[in-house]
């Protein structure tokens, strides 16, 4: 496959704020950027910024840079440092919206479109660019997976019906889920409507209504949030895509009632495996008949520990640091997602490694436990997930105090304050209780929740 700019559908357009950028204009910009940043040819380039800048950068850098490193917009300096530890980045391109003080190395702030003569640019050969995508990290540290444009574009539907869609971008395009929406629009020739990621959701919905958005992709938590916005019902949505969390059947029902003509798809995808599969029948989980069958470009299986196995029939991704293989010798990737077979349906139950999904964000309980245990009056902490009908799960911390005498309410308040001060909101336990001792199972293992 050649560069992204050469495989994009020419009907694609990018709508941002009050302006629309046509494919013709994007193509000219792309050529000019390649002249302006000619020193980036064949280099490892990190990109960060608002969706419009980000997408334009992807267009000019694919087929031009040796490697494209996607950095989520709100990444903290700790994340950035861990990216730099893993990947030998030559250059960083950001826009003015990024707090580039988080980068300990010089960055290039890309301003308005250059007006340079790009007429000779096409003479250079196209580079086979490697893409590096961050996985949804659980510890705030980066873990990057190598991809190619081919592996990323594999499941993008390019039918005529998709070409008439107008996608609203709700995710960060630097993440796998957001990038899939961008590629879907780019390759099918649909419109892509982007708003600034930090605008409040009701304002973004308002903008999407004015722009006539017809297709949206979001996590179940985000869909529930959207359903609380009065304006949302005014969207003429004909494509609803859910992913990133366990999808519950009742949410699908609510969406189907509000948008009876919409096509509802829930996607199982992992950044590691590249892609996954889509379910279109409006029910949660997926049909039991799919086990040991080939669905699209993957084969599905169940491991001895009841986790979902995926065999990618097309290509094999690797992690950036190369030390851990993603696929075993037979090509199977253990997703770590626990399954339960209920009659003719396979239902997702959670994660084997115990990570808890809070509104689409993965939390490793151990990280929060270690954080709480830094407090001198806490001897042990156990963090588990408590089911929640809005966010999937919320965190619950059970703490055992040291022998030192202490007021219980005060101890709970101190744990809360300690967590709120240094953890992101979704990692702060909502429920904190003091217990006498740590629950241990009959086999001597710690029991979480």
């Amino acid at each position: 496959m050649q560069g992204l700019s050469s495989v994009a559908n020419t009907r694609f357009e990018l709508r941002s704020g009050a302006h629309t950028v046509t494919w013709e204009k994007l193509k000219v910009d792309c050529t000019q950027q390649r002249v302006k940043y000619k020193e980036l040819r064949g280099k490892i380039v990190a990109v960060q910024g608002n969706p419009e800048h980000f997408i334009k950068s992807l267009l000019f850098l694919d087929g031009f840079a040796r490697c494209l490193v996607l950095v989520p917009k709100g990444s903290c300096s700790r994340f950035v440092s861990s990216v730099l530890d893993d990947i030998d980045i030559d250059a960083v391109i950001v826009d003015e919206s990024v707090d580039y003080s988080t980068w300990p190395i010089p960055v290039t702030v890309d301003s308005e479109t250059p007006s340079v003569d790009g007429s000779h640019e096409q003479l250079h050969p196209v580079v086979d660019t490697q893409w590096m995508l961050p996985t949804s990290g659980t510890t705030g540290m980066s873990k990057y997976v190598n991809h190619s444009l081919n592996s990323l574009c594999r499941t993008v539907a390019r039918s005529k019906q998709n070409a008439s869609q107008r996608w609203g971008l709700l995710y960060d395009p630097a993440r796998f889920a957001g990038l899939q929406v961008v590629l879907q629009a780019l390759l099918s020739g649909a419109s892509l409507v982007v708003s600034e990621g930090d605008a409040p959701l009701p304002k973004r919905v308002d903008y999407f209504v004015r722009q006539g958005v017809t297709a949206l992709s979001a996590t179940p938590t985000l869909w529930r949030h959207l359903l609380m916005i009065e304006q949302f019902a005014k969207l003429g949505v004909s494509q609803i895509t859910l992913g990133g969390e366990i999808v519950d059947g009742r949410l699908i029902k609510t969406l189907a009632t509000l948008f009876p003509a919409a096509h509802i798809t829930h996607i199982y995808a992992s950044t590691e495996a590249g892609v996954g599969f889509a379910v279109h029948d409006g029910e949660e989980g997926f049909p039991t008949a799919w086990i040991d069958k080939t669905i699209g470009e993957v084969r599905l299986g169940i491991s001895e520990t009841n986790t979902l196995l995926i065999q990618s029939l097309a290509n094999v991704q690797t992690y950036a640091n190369q030390s851990i293989p993603i696929f075993d010798d037979q090509g199977w990737h253990d997703t770590g997602d626990l399954l339960d077979v209920v009659g003719d349906r396979v239902i997702f139950k959670g994660r084997l490694n115990g990570s808890i999904n809070v509104g689409g964000n993965k939390v490793m309980p151990e990280e929060v436990e270690r954080h709480i245990e830094k407090l001198h009056f806490v001897s042990r902490a156990i963090v588990s997930g408590r089911k929640n009908s809005i966010a999937g799960n919320l965190l619950e911390a059970s703490i055992v105090l040291t022998s030192e005498e202490r007021d219980l309410d005060e101890a709970v308040q101190s744990v809360h304050d300690h967590c709120s001060k240094s953890l992101v909101a979704y990692k702060v336990p909502v429920f904190i209780k003091v217990i006498e001792s740590i629950p241990i199972s009959a086999s001597g293992k710690l029991t979480r929740g």
Partner: protein
């Protein structure tokens, strides 16, 4: 404590937790997502109310409805109030 009073108290509690300032008297017309609470805040509110009242209307509804105003939220809890466990 009356139902509306419990809901108001829980809402103020969650707002305080999220460092959001709400008016002392909450009007029915208050748009929940414009109150400053984010989706995590709303999830916490529903959990707090479940602890306090003993039920969660979102898990009782066959096809969940998601309220946009404080008034709609109160009506929803009122509709399912037969599940309330009075402590």
């Amino acid at each position: 404590m009356g139902l509306t009073e419990s809901i108001q108290r829980a809402l103020l509690l969650v707002a305080k937790r999220q460092s959001v300032s709400l008016p002392h008297v909450i009007e029915r017309e208050l748009v929940l997502l414009e109150s400053g609470l984010d989706s995590l805040g709303f999830a916490i509110l529903v959990a707090e109310l479940e602890s306090e009242l003993g039920y969660d209307p979102f898990s009782l509804m066959e096809t969940p409805f998601y309220p946009s105003t404080y008034g709609e939220l109160c009506d929803m809890y009122e509709t399912y109030s037969s599940y309330r466990i009075v402590k």
